[in-house]
Homo-oligomer: 395 residues x 2
């Protein structure tokens, strides 16, 4: 039995900076904030316990070292060993105060703003989200795309990320990314410039601007879009949290597009999560001589990522129509018998149809029929001396 | 009944500049040369007749207007209308003289040098090939790749074509292309420079250098590789013949790779033939901002072409092994629990394992086990005060 005050009173006191709640709501919300301190993102044992019992009952059971039907005794014992050393009412109260000070809202799975698409992560789903900015935006991500990529992006990558994000966000598709230097930053900035919605998922607390050089950008996103993290305010971004943040980017977005990535880029991790979630995955090709495109080519070659050449391709990935309608007919126009008739004509002199047929190696009556059709579309001209190629025609 | 001297005597006289043959061989070879004058490449009615009866018997039947079991009376009647206006013993004799003068060899389907892979074209297979250079090379194309692309190639495209062709041809893979400006020329040149085999398929007669600016290159290819055409010597390259030449490039090669291509490039036609023949198809990506890569991205998106990033990928396309073995383990190394332990360590100060476990949110015994492993590979150091990150370690 571990001693910890999980009473409604303690909960309401800790939550006071963030708002007033009735007893049950306060206890559940407080217990969620406590869980946030105990676990690292993606803890599937905690995930199963909370999903099955609620945050407060699950925490109570863990504190009293009871058995629970949804996890094995061994899983629970291992869980207690990693969770309880972190138990601190002080730390939870501090994180809630920091959240209140920076206008960061705690969104739990029972709140109406909860983005239910992240539940596709099952036991690895976040237990809550800390949100700075427009909380309602989380429920407006049906049309959304994660645009991610290398921090050390090339000018080409920056340019493409901006073009894609500007076009998509301007057209009502939310642009989700990780707030990092390089591709992420270019995508966020272009989305903001186009007046569209953009969402930044941070690996550290939503109260912290990371990287520091993006403090202004992240503030802008919070003001006009939304900044999200699953770790409590005050938490540092660690490599593990970056990797887990990537799974959240993939889960929150309807599709993921990697613009540039080195051979072992972290963006491939985001792409892997998108693929594991059966979310559509796209990758932008680039010069094969560029190290920053090695990862996107790898995604196309080895992971079945769609080759993305523009915003229309992303909309197609999202099932929003558009795409290449000009596809049909191209080959037909160049391989038909009319090509052979055209080959046998000249712009310079008139030729009679028998001559044309012999040159084309086709029967005269076939050639005459085709000449009539070609005249209709303006490709050839008829005169008293025969036929010739119209000046505007050609390959 | 159309009058034409198809006797062994006439055949031997016409073939005299090219060599001496016995009666049957002379008649069949001469009839093949006659067929070459009558038809355009890919004529499937002629193809079926010649495959079923041989060139001479098929021609005799056409001349006497008999019926034949392998084509419908209508097909035969249509065929006669397009073939017979071109019948000219003079033209055939001229083409054979031109061939002899330029050392162009007529290779028929019964010759041992016939490259049987082109028979995959069925009725659309060529009835013969006119070959300048090393005729035996046609039977050494098991390991071969067509490297084709835009005439108006970019410097990037030229560079990639040269790198691929040089590496592949130098390693024993024959490089097949169309002798055109741009990608084709770059591929041929690099293959020659590397001392490998290269094959140029021309749309006009094998005696003609087309384009004129590539006269020296095509002469070089004839000298150290082989120049091939299915149309008779003296024939002009027409658009139809270019398109049919493309089918032959695809059929002669074990795989086709398009390096650069505009949205409606003729190279897409070659790629379409490769796909229709179930030959492996590859395309090299490039910047999505480059018009000369629009066609290759289209092949990857719409035609299932493999994304080619280097010569190894081409060898993989050809089933010659190689490829990316470095694939495994990359993600595992970055997502394991060891990452969390590393996150919880510092290079600056020593930390004891309980502290590390709490920071990592993991059980102390798990952390201790992992610290031991990490010490073995040199990632962490152990001291009397605990553990720290080795200086060389990091993300």
């Amino acid at each position: 039995m571990t001693s910890f005050d999980l009473s409604a009173g303690a909960a309401r006191r800790a939550l006071a900076p963030t708002g007033a709640y009735d007893d049950d709501d306060a206890r559940e919300r407080y217990a969620t904030a406590v869980w946030c301190q105990l676990i690292e993102p993606g803890d599937s044992v905690a995930g199963r316990l909370i999903a099955a019992h609620g945050a407060a009952p699950a925490l109570e059971a863990v504190l009293r070292a009871g058995t629970l039907p949804d996890v094995t005794p061994r899983e629970l014992a291992e869980g207690r060993k990693r969770w309880l050393p972190r138990l601190s009412a002080r730390a939870v109260a501090d994180s809630l105060s920091m959240a209140a000070a920076r206008s960061v809202t705690l969104v739990t799975r029972s709140d109406p703003q909860w983005p239910s698409q992240v539940d596709d992560l099952d036991a690895h789903a976040p237990v809550c989200l800390w949100v700075r900015g427009d909380v309602t935006a989380l429920r407006r991500l049906e049309a959304s795309v994660a645009i991610v990529g290398a921090r050390a992006a090339s000018r080409y990558g920056d340019h493409v990320a901006m073009e894609l994000a500007s076009d998509l966000a301007g057209g009502g598709v939310a642009v989700v990314s990780g707030g990092a230097y390089g591709i992420d930053g270019a995508a966020h900035r272009a989305a903001l410039s186009s007046g569209g919605l953009t969402v930044a998922l941070l690996a550290g607390g939503a109260d912290r601007s990371y990287p520091v050089g993006h403090t202004q950008l992240i503030d802008d996103i919070a003001e006009r879009g939304v900044v999200v993290s699953e770790v409590a305010c005050g938490s540092a971004p660690t490599k593990w949290r970056f990797l887990q943040r990537n799974r959240l980017i993939a889960a929150l977005s309807a599709a993921t597009v990697v613009v540039e990535a080195g051979w072992r880029s972290g963006s491939l991790n985001t792409a892997g999560h998108a693929a594991a979630l059966s979310r559509p995955l796209g990758a932008v090709p680039g010069p094969i001589t560029s190290a920053t495109s090695a990862g996107t080519h790898r995604l196309i070659r080895e992971y079945g990522a769609q080759c993305i050449t523009g915003a229309d391709d992303v909309r197609e990935l999202l099932g929003l129509g558009s795409g290449s309608d000009a596809r049909a007919g191209v080959q037909a126009a160049y391989t038909g018998e009319s090509t052979r008739v055209m080959d046998a004509l000249s712009t310079r002199g008139w030729r009679e149809s028998g001559d044309i047929a012999r040159r084309a190696g086709m029967a005269a009556d076939t050639v005459e029929g085709l000449l009539g059709l070609l005249r209709l579309d303006g490709s050839v001209e008829a005169g008293t001396e025969g036929w010739r190629l119209a000046r505007r025609a050609g390959g």
